[in-house]
């Protein structure tokens, strides 16, 4: 029956698929976007929180983001991307 065939093979009838490569790319994109908006965010946060200053917030954030980007790089190296 046509309806059953459709429900049994749903991934085959849909178009483009994504795998590990796209997943890691999306993660790196997210981290990059976060890095881009951190200068704005650190200025805004420093204005709200009297104890902080933008440079300290930005440096700390960039350091931590760097660690995550390194983790993403390691994941790209370790992961098999041939799926």
């Amino acid at each position: 029956m046509a309806v059953n065939e459709t429900t049994e093979r749903p991934t085959e009838v849909t178009g483009r698929t994504v795998g590990t490569k796209e997943q890691l790319g999306a993660g790196v994109l997210g981290l990059g976007f976060l890095t881009l908006i951190m200068p704005w965010a650190s200025t805004e946060i420093a204005a709200l929180v009297a104890k902080s200053d933008p440079y300290a917030i930005l440096s700390g954030s960039v350091m931590v983001l760097g660690l995550f980007i390194i983790a993403a790089g390691i994941a790209i190296i370790v992961q098999r991307l041939d799926d």
Binding site: R16, V18, L34
Partner: protein, 234 residues
């Protein structure tokens, strides 16, 4: 008696490719779920966060780095809606996604309920370890969340700022991640079979999964009540 068994491929087995349609549908919905959860939590001043349920769902179903993307979208979206206070905590959301995603998909931590429970505890620990430096160095230990009361109580006991912030945050985070993890489990159960069939995640009759999820939420609420009681006593 219904038995709960693990299904799906062995750890480190090659992952299945996912239709792009599922990804572009699930990620915005998960981010919206996080933002709404966090907003409701803020309105009700609950001693939890509720902003990582969508992250858990996506990290487990699609993969850890898709979950990380949801975390970034969540906190960026919240920053534009309610102010930039939550933006540095995007890193906590990313850490949560990585631990949930790699834990279930690569280390088989979702194969049984006890393992999944332990995974939620590990997520809470990892997220707290990330959050504490942000709390202390960026915000001086307080952001206006309920946990600030607990931090103040621990400070009054004579603890230093780092220990106080960590103690209050881990209590809140434990409750939050147990609730989020088990709600995510219930949501995953409701997703299409072809998305979840290959996951090394506990499989049970639908009602059984709901009962397990409800049990997890009850445990999370119990932890939350204990943390409130600790604050009230001190």
């Amino acid at each position: 008696m219904a038995t709960i068994t693990a299904a799906g491929p062995a750890p480190r087995q090659r992952q299945q490719r996912i239709p792009l349609t599922y990804v572009v549908t699930l990620i915005p919905v998960a981010a919206a779920l996080n933002i709404v959860g966090g907003y409701i939590n803020g309105l009700l001043h609950l001693p939890i966060f509720l902003d990582m349920m969508g992250t858990a769902v996506v990290a487990i179903v699609l993969g850890p780095w898709w979950g990380a993307l949801v975390g970034v979208i969540t906190n960026t979206g919240s920053a534009f809606l309610t102010g930039p206070i939550g933006l540095p905590f995007a890193l906590c959301n990313v850490v949560g996604a990585l631990v949930w995603g790699y834990g279930v998909r690569n280390f088989g931590m979702g194969r049984t309920i006890p393992r999944f429970f332990i995974l939620n505890l590990l997520v809470a620990l990892a997220v707290s370890l990330t959050a504490v430096p942000i709390y202390v160095f960026v915000f001086g230990g307080a952001t206006g969340h309920f946990s600030d009361l607990m931090t103040a109580a621990f400070l009054a006991m004579g603890q230093n700022l780092f220990v106080s912030v960590f103690s209050s945050n881990i209590l809140v985070s434990l409750a939050d991640k147990i609730i989020s993890g088990f709600v995510a489990l219930a949501i995953i159960e409701a997703l299409p079979e072809n998305l979840t069939a290959s996951l090394p995640l506990v499989k049970a009759a639908p009602m059984r999964t709901i009962v397990v999820a409800a049990g997890g939420v009850v445990i999370g609420i119990a932890v939350m009540l204990v943390s409130i009681a600790v604050t009230a006593k001190s």
